[in-house]
């Protein structure tokens, strides 16, 4: 009996109602996505400048050619996903308690971390392609940091933050 109870423990202090969670997630995601959309071009230019700078340090003599990404190809979905999840979570309690000063620091750090992970993925992709190691490593790097990471990183980071939040607010 004890063993059965142990397996049923849920780390998440919330009874998920699918519809009442998904609706605010959709709303939060859409808001963040629409806000970011006009700045996509600026963000991608900034990303390319940083990547070019790091690449020029790594490959001083023969840096690889990096083309400017069209704005519609540089849309980041990890940020809006993370915001959407936090927004939906905030609906389960007073919004002010979720987006309090204490929680804003880990929230901001998580957003920056997501951007760094994406940048790191792009950088690794260029490096492994330039070094012509094999097809396996670029495939794996691309898949982990970009294809899978763009969705799974915000989700996992939200779980980590979600768990910490009740402790931070004392619930």
């Amino acid at each position: 009996m004890e063993k059965k109870n142990k397996t049923e423990i849920t780390p998440f202090p919330i009874a998920f109602d699918f519809i009442s969670f998904f609706k605010p997630f959709f709303l939060g995601f859409s808001i963040a996505f629409l806000i970011l959309l006009p700045f996509t071009s600026l963000l991608s230019t900034g990303k390319v400048v940083i990547i070019r700078w790091i690449i020029s340090l790594l490959f001083r003599n023969n840096p690889p050619y990096i083309h400017q990404i069209p704005f519609y190809r540089s849309i980041s979905i990890s940020g809006p996903t993370f915001f959407g999840l936090c927004f939906a979570h905030s609906k389960t309690k007073p919004m002010s308690s979720f987006f309090s000063k204490k929680n804003l620091i880990p929230f901001s750090l998580a957003v920056v971390l997501l951007w760094i992970l994406e940048l790191f993925g792009n950088l690794l992709e260029i490096i492994v392609t330039k070094m012509k190691i094999s097809s396996f490593l670029p495939n794996f790097t691309l898949a982990f940091f970009l294809s899978v990471g763009s969705i799974s990183f915000p989700l996992l980071l939200w779980f980590l933050l979600f768990f910490r939040l009740p402790r931070a607010t004392g619930t």
Partner: protein, 183 residues
Amino acid sequence: MKNQTKTRSKPTKIKKGKNPFLIPTFRFLFVTISVMLILLLYVSQSSVTVFFEQWTSISLQWILNILHIKTRLTGNILLLLDGTQIKFQIVPDCTGIFPLIILISLLVGYPSSFVKKFYGILLAFFYTFLFNYLRLVLLFVIARKSVHWFEIAHIFIWQVSFVFLIVSYFFWWMQWKRKIKQK
């Protein structure tokens, strides 16, 4: 909303000096990332990648033939024979394998019984591939009419739709799991 707070379970308390692996969230994150890495290591092998690309290309052409959309397949490249006549290269992202990997990792990592995980993964398999074929067929239908709208649909709508697919399925499964437990 009121009902939700009523049924809320108590958050797990962390004792100082406790092994972090015993904390459910850390265990969930560790298992999820490990499963994800193992599956990605397998899928990233060129032979497996080629297999998925070929399989998706052939099956997609078969579906398009049924829908009277004429295409020619060369390797993993599908050429539209009418309309805008554009070429499509089927890459690993088009195969729908990555959303499935994310879902499998999340379901394996989440604390639940083996049977619930098994049914969850089985349904995720069908759900992901059905969704992916629907996405690909609709992209072909759009591409026949306009390349511009194809770009918008490909980048904006479908990239975002994978996020909704994963989040909706995972939370639906969590709710289903809880309902089964209550019964």
